[in-house]
Amino acid sequence: MTKPELKNCIRRLRFDHDEMTQQELADRAGVTRQTIIAMEANKYSPSLMLAFRIARTFGVKVEEVFQYNEDDC
């Protein structure tokens, strides 16, 4: 049985949104740039609040940013 994993498409979504930088996304989401770096590297799973803020920044649903288990971006 595979361990459940939370993946994200933050990097792709940033480039799709006028090549938004990590700092810009961090400022809009209210976190530090290092947190964005950690999320993109799948080293950190955000809280529900932060996940919604990031999704709202991109104007998409949470499921389009974060995927549970083996779903692809």
């Binding site: 930088t21 990590q22 961090a26 400022d27 209210g30 976190v31 530090t32 740039r33 290092q34 947190t35 770096i37 950690a38 993109e40 590297a41 080293k43 950190y44 955000p46 809280s47 609040m49 932060l50």
Partner: protein
């Protein structure tokens, strides 16, 4: 780019190390009791409030930083508790035959626990932040 928490942790390790070095240097000069004055250097840590002040519009600590800090606190608590117990045992073994311990031993036990707490918290923070891959962009 180093996070503010990493800078603070490095500063604390530096100050704690300076205090320990001062203590060991002063022992042969002033004796153990007076050498404890070397730990007064730990007061320099209070300067971190001014040295690492939050800038305007800067996000100080976000949820991830709070989580790392929380885990560092737990790890530091466990390590300092263990060091406290070990220090008590060592003092007990040394002075068992005398059926009494010098008052300075109590100071030594407290300092051991305090220094261990301080250092292990800072080291955990540096390790936790340092473990990340660097995916920095310009």
């Amino acid at each position: 780019m180093m996070h503010k928490a990493q800078k603070i942790a490095r500063f604390r390790i530096l100050v704690s190390t300076m205090a320990l070095i001062a203590f060991f240097i002063l022992i042969p000069i002033l004796g153990i009791k007076a050498a404890l004055a070397g730990f007064s250097l730990l007061a320099i840590q209070s300067l971190e409030v001014f040295l690492f002040r939050k800038k305007k519009n800067e996000i100080g600590f976000d949820e991830r930083d709070r989580e790392i800090n929380r885990r560092a606190g737990v790890a530091a608590g466990v390590i300092s508790y263990l060091s406290f117990i070990i220090a008590c045992f060592i003092i007990g073994v040394i002075y068992w035959s005398q059926q009494q311990i010098p008052i300075g031993s109590l100071v030594a036990i407290v300092l051991t626990g305090g220094m261990t707490l301080n250092l292990s918290h800072s080291i955990y923070i540096l390790v936790a932040y340092g473990r990340e891959d660097n995916h920095d962009e310009a």
